[in-house]
C-alpha cells in the first residue's frame, strides 16, 4: 500500500477525519459516485441554499436583538424578534416563581442536569448513585419550596417553566420505569389473576389520551377523596403522568422480554435460580438492553408530553412561553417564542437520543458476537 501514490507517501502519516484528502475521497465515493448521485446531491444543496438563505437573513441578519418595549420589532422589514426572548426568558424558564428568588429554580434545574450527567456515566453505576440522587432531590426540594435558611417559602402553585418540566419528567420516568418492569412481568406471569390485572391496566391506560387522564386526575380525583383530604394539584398531575408512562413503557419492556430465547430461562432454572434472581440477573439485563432504543423513544415522547399539564393550569415551559405571547407588546411573535421553546426541548431530547446510542454501543461492544446457538467461533 505504501507504494500507492494516491494513498500515502512514505513517512506521511495518515490521519482520520480532518484530513481534507480523506474528506474529499469520502465525498467522491458517497456523493458523486455516479451522474444520478451527483445530480441529486447538487439539487439538494441548491434547495437547502435557497431555503437557508432567507431563513438566515430573517434569523440573524435582520433580527432585532434588543428592544425592551418591542417597538423595534414592529418596524417594516425587520427580522426575527429575539428581543422577546431577551425580555421574557426569565418568565419562560421560571414561570410565576418570585422574581428575586428565581436563582433557586435555576440552581434546581442545574442540579437536575448534573444528576443526569452523573447517572449517564457508567463508572458511576454504583450503590452510592442512589444516595447522590436522594441528596440531589432533597436539595431541589429545599430550593424550590424554601422556607429554611432564610429563603422565602414558595408554594408549588407558583412553580413553573423549565424547572417544572424537569421535575415532572424526572419523577415521572424514575417512578414509571420500575413500575413498568413489574407490569411487564405481571403481564407474562403464569398466574392468571395477575396477568389479567396487568392486561386490563395496560390496555385501559393505553386506550385513553393523556389529556383525559390529567383532566380526570385534576377534576374527578378530588370528588372521590374523603372530605378534608386534598392532594396537591402538582402531585395529581404527576401521578396521572406516572400511570400513563408506566403502561407504555410496560409494553416496550414486554417486547424486550419476548425476544429472550426460552433457553435462557431454562438454563437459569436448571441452575436453581429463583424467579426474581433469574429475572434480575439473566432476563431483564438482556431484555432491557435490546429495549434501549424504544425505551428512549418513549422517554423522549414522555418528556414532551409533560407540556400537556397546561390543561390543568400548571405552568410548564410551553405554557409559560405561550403566556408570554399574551402580553400586548409581544403578540404576534409566536414563531420566535416557539423556536426558543423547541430549542430547549431539543437540547434535552437530543441528549437523550445520543446517549442511548452511545450506551447501546458500549454495552454491545464486549459481547458483540451475539448469543448462543451453534456459534462458530474465532476462538
Amino acid at each position: 500500500m505504501g507504494s500507492d501514490p494516491f494513498i500515502a507517501g512514505p513517512g506521511q502519516a495518515r490521519t482520520k477525519g480532518s484530513d481534507p484528502k480523506v474528506a474529499l475521497a469520502w465525498a467522491r465515493e458517497h456523493l458523486f459516485s455516479s451522474w444520478g448521485n451527483t445530480a441529486v446531491t447538487l439539487m439538494i444543496v441548491y434547495l437547502l441554499w435557497k431555503l437557508m438563505l432567507p431563513f438566515l437573513d430573517w434569523a440573524l441578519v435582520k433580527a432585532v436583538w434588543w428592544s425592551p418595549d418591542g417597538k423595534a420589532c414592529r418596524v417594516e422589514d425587520s427580522g426575527a424578534c429575539w428581543a422577546l426572548i431577551a425580555d421574557k426568558h426569565r418568565f419562560m424558564l421560571f414561570g410565576t416563581y418570585p422574581f428575586d428568588a428565581q436563582w433557586r429554580p435555576a440552581l434546581a434545574s442545574l442540579i437536575f442536569v448534573a444528576l443526569y450527567v452523573v447517572s449517564a456515566i457508567r463508572a458511576c453505576w454504583r450503590p452510592w448513585l442512589a444516595l447522590v440522587w436522594l441528596g440531589g432531590l432533597a436539595a431541589i426540594g429545599v430550593l424550590m419550596w424554601g422556607g429554611v435558611f432564610g429563603m422565602v417559602y414558595v408554594e408549588n402553585e407558583r412553580w413553573g417553566g423549565l424547572a417544572l418540566t424537569l421535575l415532572l419528567a424526572t419523577f415521572g420516568i424514575a417512578i414509571a420505569f420500575p413500575l413498568s418492569i413489574l407490569l411487564a412481568l405481571a403481564r407474562r406471569s403464569t398466574m392468571p389473576v395477575i396477568r389479567w390485572l396487568a392486561i386490563g391496566y395496560i390496555e385501559l391506560i393505553r386506550g385513553v389520551p393523556l389529556i383525559s387522564l390529567l383532566f380526570m386526575a385534576s377534576v374527578m380525583l378530588p370528588l372521590f377523596l374523603p372530605e378534608g383530604v386534598t392532594i396537591d394539584k402538582l402531585l395529581r398531575a404527576q401521578i396521572a403522568m406516572i400511570l400513563f408512562a408506566a403502561a407504555y413503557l410496560a409494553e416496550v419492556v414486554r417486547g424486550g422480554l419476548q425476544a429472550i430465547p426460552r433457553g435462557q430461562y431454562e438454563a437459569a432454572q436448571a441452575l436453581g435460580l429463583s424467579y426474581w434472581k433469574m429475572m434480575g440477573f439473566i432476563i431483564l439485563p438482556q431484555a432491557l438492553r435490546i429495549s434501549i432504543p424504544p425505551l428512549v423513544n418513549t422517554f423522549i415522547g414522555f418528556f414532551k408530553d409533560t407540556s400537556l399539564v397546561l390543561i390543568i393550569g400548571l405552568f410548564d415551559l410551553l405554557t409559560t412561553v405561550k403566556v408570554s405571547l399574551t402580553e400586548p407588546k409581544w403578540t404576534g411573535f409566536g414563531v420566535e417564542a416557539y423556536i426558543f421553546a423547541s430549542a430547549v426541548y431539543f437540547i434535552f431530547c437530543f441528549a437523550m437520543s445520543r446517549y442511548s446510542q452511545a450506551l447501546e454501543a458500549s454495552l454491545g461492544a464486549a459481547q458483540s458476537r451475539g448469543t448462543n446457538g451453534a456459534g462458530k467461533g474465532v476462538a
Binding site: 439473566i282 459481547q367 451475539g370 448462543n372 467461533g377
Partner: protein
Amino acid sequence: MIELSRVNKWYGDFHVLKDVDIKVGKGEKVVVCGPSGSGKSTMIRLINRLETHQSGRIVVDGIELSDDLKSVDAIRREVGMVFQSFNLFPHLTVMENLTLAPIWVRKMPKRAAEEHAQHFLERVKIPEQADKYPGQLSGGQQQRVAIARALCMRPKVMLFDEPTSALDPEMIKEVLDVMIELAHEGMTMVCVTHEMGFAKTVADRVVFMDQGEIVEAAAPHEFFEAPKTDRAKLFLSQILGH
C-alpha cells in the same frame, strides 16, 4: 439416585411419554438414544422439572418431584444440566456465568466461588478464557463452559441433552473428552446422545426410546451387537449406516 415409575405426559392430546420406567443408581451412566421426536428431551427435562408430568412418580436423590416449589429448588441444586444450544448467558463473562449460581443459590463467598470456578475451567481445559464473553468463544469452548457452569454447583447428577449435536465435527471430540473424564470420576450421568463411541466407552446402560416408550435398555455391547427389537435394529442401521 433417579427413579421414574410409570411416568406419563401429554402435550394436549399428544401422548409424549408412555409409562416410562427407568432407574439410575449412584455413579451410573445411562445413555439415551432414539429417533427424533421420540421423547428423549422431554424425559430428561422431567428430571429437573423443566417439564411437568401428568401421572407417575419421579424421585430424585430421595425427593419426590411435585408442585411443591421447595422440592423443585432442592432438586435443581443437585442436578446439573447441559443443553444442546449451550444457553450460556451472553451478557456475562465466562467467570460470571460460572459464579452466579454458586454465589446466589449456594451462598458461596465471591472469592471462593471464583477460585472454585477457575478450578473447573482448568478441568474443562479453558482456564485462560475466564474474562471473555460467551460470544467470543468457539462452539466447543462454549459447551465446555456450560459443562463447567453446571459442575460449579457441585451437582450429584449431570443431565446432558444432545451436548454435541450443535457442534462442528472437529469440536465434538473436545467436549466428549471432558464428558468421558467426568464419567471416569464417578459422576452420575444421564446423557441423550447419538455418539455411539461415547456410549460404548462410558455407558453402563443404553436406553432406546421410540414414540414415547422405552423399547430397550441394555448394556452397550448387548445393545449394539445384538439389539432385540426391530425398531432398535432399524435405528442402529440408520445412524451407523452413514
